[in-house]
Subunit: 258 residues, 2 copies
């Protein structure tokens, strides 16, 4: 069956997009069929996968007018890796979707046929840095959330907020099965005390929910998007590629054990 | 007269809050009377200035019910530096404010009395990473925008979007005087080609709009928030403190020349 994940965190710049793009590429490289859905009007996952942003090519019409999501699916240049792109105008969904009926379930309804068809092993949704209607729709429509967490103080402050939102969506019945798949520590700079303190703090409170693989801050990871390539295709032997490959292995092991 | 600035950019994690907190402290240290207004439900500027987040202590009631903003002003431990704090519940404004009358001008109306009183030389508003109602209210209610721009590819992609929003608010009459005060290049890592390329690209297109002072990526800057202190109070002799002090000087020179 198709398993679906939202990568959400209202704190900005914590590595949500980088984790979606990198992890998706590693899973595809391991032979899994992966669909990335870009839920961010910034459309960084779209350009990170080397795709054009084209007016009207986003989930907007699927959320508002019931246009089938399958019509939006694009193949990327990377085998086993497809994308539903985004573009700037998706931002209007934050204002328009709340006016629609059952506005929290628009994505859940739209993605159902894709899940039922079983075309993909994994669906990864990249969310914008907010807890608005787009992120809420993603969280209601997926099975699990993955939280990218930058090893910095402000990011740590925001963790309880997103966890409370997840708990509320579960207990309110909006998505009774929603659970935290895991917390990925990102942009870890081993030379700083702060990074070690943040990782220690998070592991202390969230123990097994925290992926063992920690993603280091590396220049190659920040360069890859300007070439429209995930890290394993931009620089296969870099520390970033090694880290995300390890994360993908850990992710698969957890999924198989589940 | 009081001059007001919004620090906005929908791209997350580009250094908006760090720039507001650091610049405000440097301006206050130079004898200017400064008010920081935290418009982000994450309330990072509030904790970055060592203040508690307290339920109900945010601009929410001022935007919705016309409660005077002056009632929310707190003195910080730093001379000449006051704060209107934020807290998580401010997030509800994104849904509630659009239902109010003249919803784009709620902040403009609320901040008018503070501007008229002339208590402050500068008002600095820290915005969340989105182009929602809170950021729009900030942009309509201030004189200028300052754009913090991380020296990275995804951040560069988003620059045209925020500039178009500013142009639209100006030409539509929502804020006819709104202009870009400047673009601050942040988290510059001189060891990477990417950073140099991004700075070159931005200077090529935006010339004088780009502040000459470039803020380096430094560990001390990422540590300061965990102590609730702006960089000049956390580590006065650090590269970050030197850079933001230089930025404050440049900022004041531009203002005096204006
Ligand atoms: N491990 C890393 N090492 C170095 N740079 C990184 C790393 N992960 C991400 N980056 C860079 O940091 C910036 C922020 O990452 P990214 O855009 O993936 O975060 P995000 O959470 O998706 O941001 P937003 O909140 O705006 O959606 C990007 O410029 C990205 O290239
Ligand atoms: N020049 C710098 N050097 C090192 N770290 C920095 C620098 N500027 C900011 N940071 C750190 O980078 C992270 C992002 O910065 P900050 O939170 O100020 O960005 P922001 O644009 O306000 O984020 P958001 O979009 O979530 O509001 C923070 O953890 C901050 O401490
Ligand atoms: Mg992103
Ligand atoms: Mg901020």
């Amino acid at each position: 069956p198709t398993q679906s994940f939202a990568f959400a965190n209202q704190k900005g710049g914590v590595g949500k997009t980088t984790t979606v793009v990198s992890l998706a590429a590693c899973l595809a490289d391991a032979g899994k069929r992966v669909l990335v859905i870009d839920f961010d009007p910034q459309a960084n996952a779209t350009s990170g996968l080397g795709q054009e942003k084209l007016e009207g090519h986003s989930v907007y019409d699927a959320l508002l007018n019931g246009q089938p999501l399958t019509a939006l699916i694009r193949q990327t240049e990377f085998p086993n890796l497809d994308l539903i792109p985004s573009e700037e105008d998706l931002a209007a969904a934050e204002v328009d979707v709340p006016r629609a009926e059952r506005f929290l379930e628009r994505f859940k309804t739209a993605v159902e046929p894709i899940k039922a068809a079983g075309t993909y092993d994994f669906i990864l949704v990249d969310c914008p840095p907010s807890l608005g209607v787009l992120t809420m729709n993603a969280l209601v429509g997926v099975d699990r959330i993955v939280i990218a967490l930058q090893c910095e103080y402000y990011a740590l402050e925001g963790l309880t907020v997103i966890l409370r939102v997840v708990e509320h969506l579960r207990s309110s019945g909006a998505n009774p099965a929603l659970d935290v798949e895991g917390i990925v520590m990102t942009m870890f700079d081993g030379r700083t005390n702060l990074a070690h303190q943040v990782v220690e703090e998070v592991r202390k409170h969230f123990a097994d929910k925290v992926f063992k693989t920690v993603i280091p801050r590396t220049v190659r990871l920040s360069e890859a998007p300007s070439f429209g390539k995930p890290i394993i295709h931009y620089d296969k032997h870099s520390a970033g590629a090694t880290a995300y490959t390890a994360l993908a292995k850990e992710f698969l092991k957890r999924r198989e054990a589940a």
